[in-house]
């Protein structure tokens, strides 16, 4: 889960990373009472979970006197469709130089890796493409609790040594918060020292519980229902509903729909042990999307009970056509049950997908 800038900064600050003085406000009025704390220019930053926020107009540098007007504007200014619930107002730093630093996990070496560049504040993906040598990498064993000196020397090169402790603290924050990504872009040097001018932190979804984070994402009611039922669910924009078991098989079903020029409405992985109740809930959930004309159920597994799945589909009793492919225990019973109730069950994934694409187009 992606944290917002101010949330990430609170965590970074707790790990000894210097953060600009600032306040988080939930309405422009709150700013009126806190403006006294600022001396000169301020930076007003929309707190939305969107990349390229600055370019989109979500960050305003202004005189202290105009800060409330800027905040009023940002509170009603959508960035890529999102309206902020909070705004961060910070002192404007006098910046000598901007750097880039992030810590992530290298899937290939299975180790944390630090990425560092001497030019920060820019789109780092662009830098990686156009000037890959500008991005220095340093990986090390995840069993270490500090960034080893040789790695720090390699990534810093001739950059100021005072960045070292900040990067080391970023690694500690990265570990302590179960982060998949901890990024400071830009990390700035000023006459008053080093500061994290921006902050990004993505927390591992598998660790939200022990991090004490309750998912605060803006879910649609259907996404929330899927999450509560333990389904993996992604909404797309086609007319063929898809229910599968296992992420790979479900993805592959979506791909096959695309292969035959159909458009899937969603990705729904019911997970292991697809029983009667879970299948019923999944079918009803997908059928609840108004765009869905036909639903594909593709379940495969040695221990999946096909008769139970068939009962779940029948229990759901949805308006749309449900076309099924089931392979597992009690396959024949499942097929007979479905046939008796007017549902179609085909033998292969290929067959169900082609049939569904045909019906969706009709």
């Amino acid at each position: 889960m992606k944290l917002l800038e101010f949330e990430a900064k609170e965590i970074f600050r707790a790990h000894g990373i210097p953060i600009p003085n600032g306040v988080v406000i939930n309405s422009p009025d709150e700013l009126r009472d806190t403006l006294d704390g600022f001396t000169d220019d301020v930076v007003v930053k929309s707190q939305v979970d969107v990349g390229g926020r600055g370019k989109a107009g979500g960050i305003i540098i202004t005189k202290k006197a105009d800060a409330v007007i800027a905040a009023e504007h940002l509170f009603s200014f959508p960035i890529k469709g999102l309206i902020p619930k909070a705004i961060l107002v910070e002192e404007k730093l006098s910046i000598d130089h901007e750097y880039y630093v992030s810590i992530t996990i290298d899937r290939s070496t299975r180790e944390p890796v630090i990425l560092f560049a001497e030019t920060g504040g820019v789109d780092i993906e662009e830098t990686a493409k156009t000037n890959p040598h500008a991005l220095r990498r340093g990986g090390f064993s995840p069993l270490l609790t500090e960034v080893p000196g040789y790695v720090m020397r390699e990534i810093l090169g001739t950059a100021p040594k005072e960045l070292g402790p900040v990067i080391n603290n970023l690694y500690k924050a990265f570990c302590a918060s179960d982060a998949l990504l901890a990024e400071i872009n830009p990390l700035v040097t000023t006459p008053r020292g080093v500061f994290a001018a921006d902050a990004k932190l993505i927390v591992d979804d598998n660790a939200l519980g022990r991090q004490g984070i309750t998912a605060n994402r803006d879910l649609t009611p259907r996404e929330r229902e899927a999450e509560e039922n333990g389904f993996s669910y992604v909404e797309l924009d086609g007319s063929i509903g898809v229910i599968g078991n296992g992420a790979g098989l479900t993805m592959s079903t979506l791909d096959l729909i695309k292969h035959y020029n159909g458009k899937a409405a969603n990705f729904l992985d019911v997970g292991g042990g697809a029983g009667r109740e879970r299948v019923m809930k999944a079918v009803r959930l997908v059928a609840g999307m108004p765009e869905v004309k036909v639903i594909v159920v593709n379940l495969l597994g040695g221990i999946t009970r096909c008769d139970e799945v068939a009962k779940g589909i029948i229990d759901a009793g949805v308006e749309q056509r449900v076309i099924t492919r089931l392979a597992g225990t009690n396959e024949e019973e499942g097929k007979a049950l479905l046939a008796k109730n007017g549902y179609q069950m085909l033998d292969t994934m290929e067959d169900v997908v082609r049939q569904a694409v045909k019906e969706a187009a009709a």
């Binding site: 290939s108 992420a247 790979g248 993805m251 592959s252 791909d255 729909i257 990705f267």
Partner: protein, 288 residues
């Protein structure tokens, strides 16, 4: 065979939970059919002395291996405790841990893998269906009824999609040497290249099907690491960016790891890429 055969003695960690007990039974049924040793002991802290489907339970891996000759663990321990259990198995001297568990925090996985590597213990998974060598051994949860013995190896990041491919191959009369589910998490113990290295020294394996998906670039890394003939398939060509497609590792981040570019790179390197699972058997036949 790679990773194990019918002589492999196995313990199950997390043996008294629903999943653990259920699969002890299925693994031992398969061992009976193949004349294998199967699961010889189970481990659940605090449940020592119990019996699950005829298998004795111990409080620790150390106690279990003191009483039984075992080299391998199949792990069903819940996510928050699984990293620790991998380290326990490694420190008790086991050679192989097959981590079925889904939902292990990735920092735990990373540390457990680094620790296991120092102890000389190989880890498969986590978040994987395990290993099946048809007619020999089943270390995990794969349904053996779809498979048949033969000469094609399979390596996959997925579970049920692997069963789909096994099913397609078997229906086409192509048997499998060993099927390895390496797991759907971003950080996994054995990657495509590690498993391919094992297949290279396995006389039974003549060709390998590599089943990948969106996220990362382990598929390309694996494909270029081997001299074995390969057929590849990549799931997720319809996956939107920045959305987690079920697996924690199946996410296109910062424009990286999307299926179109993976497929393009594999084709550019000269590997056959199947457009759909049902196209895999024909491509495999061309290699054999």
């Amino acid at each position: 065979m790679i990773y194990g055969d019918h002589t492999t003695g196995t313990i199950v960690q997390g043996a008294t939970g629903n999943q653990g007990a259920f699969h002890i039974n299925l693994m031992n049924q398969y061992a009976q059919e193949t004349g294998g040793r199967g699961v010889v002991a189970g481990v659940t802290p605090g449940k020592g002395g119990q019996i699950v489907h005829g298998v004795p339970i111990y409080n620790s891996v150390r106690e279990a291996v003191a009483e039984h000759d075992a080299t391998t663990s199949v792990l069903f321990v819940p996510g928050f405790a699984a990293g620790d259990s991998i380290m326990e198995a490694a420190s008790a001297g086991l050679e192989l841990v097959v981590a079925i568990t889904e939902g292990i925090p990735v920092h735990d996985t990373m540390r457990a893998l680094a620790f296991a590597r120092m102890e000389g213990c190989t880890v498969i998974g986590p978040n994987c269906p395990g290993i099946l060598s048809p007619g020999e051994v089943k270390l995990g949860i794969m349904p053996p009824q779809l498979a048949m013995p033969g000469h094609v190896g399979i390596i996959s990041r997925s579970g049920t999609l692997t069963y789909e491919v096994i099913n397609e191959l078997t229906r086409a009369g192509i048997g499998q040497s060993t099927v390895v589910g390496i797991g759907g998490d971003p950080v996994i113990g054995q990657t495509f290249s590690d498993v391919l290295a094992r297949f290279e020294s396995d006389p039974r394996t003549k060709a390998v099907v590599l089943i990948g998906e969106v996220g990362g670039n382990l598929e390309e890394e694996g494909a270029t690491s081997t001299t074995l003939p390969l057929v590849t398939y990549i799931a997720g060509i319809s996956a939107p960016p920045e959305k987690r497609m079920g697996h924690a590792g199946a996410i296109i981040e910062g424009g990286e790891g999307n299926a179109v570019s993976k497929i393009a790179r594999l084709r550019h390197l000269g590997f056959p890429v199947a457009e759909k699972p049902s196209a895999i058997p024909a491509l495999v036949k061309e290699l054999l």
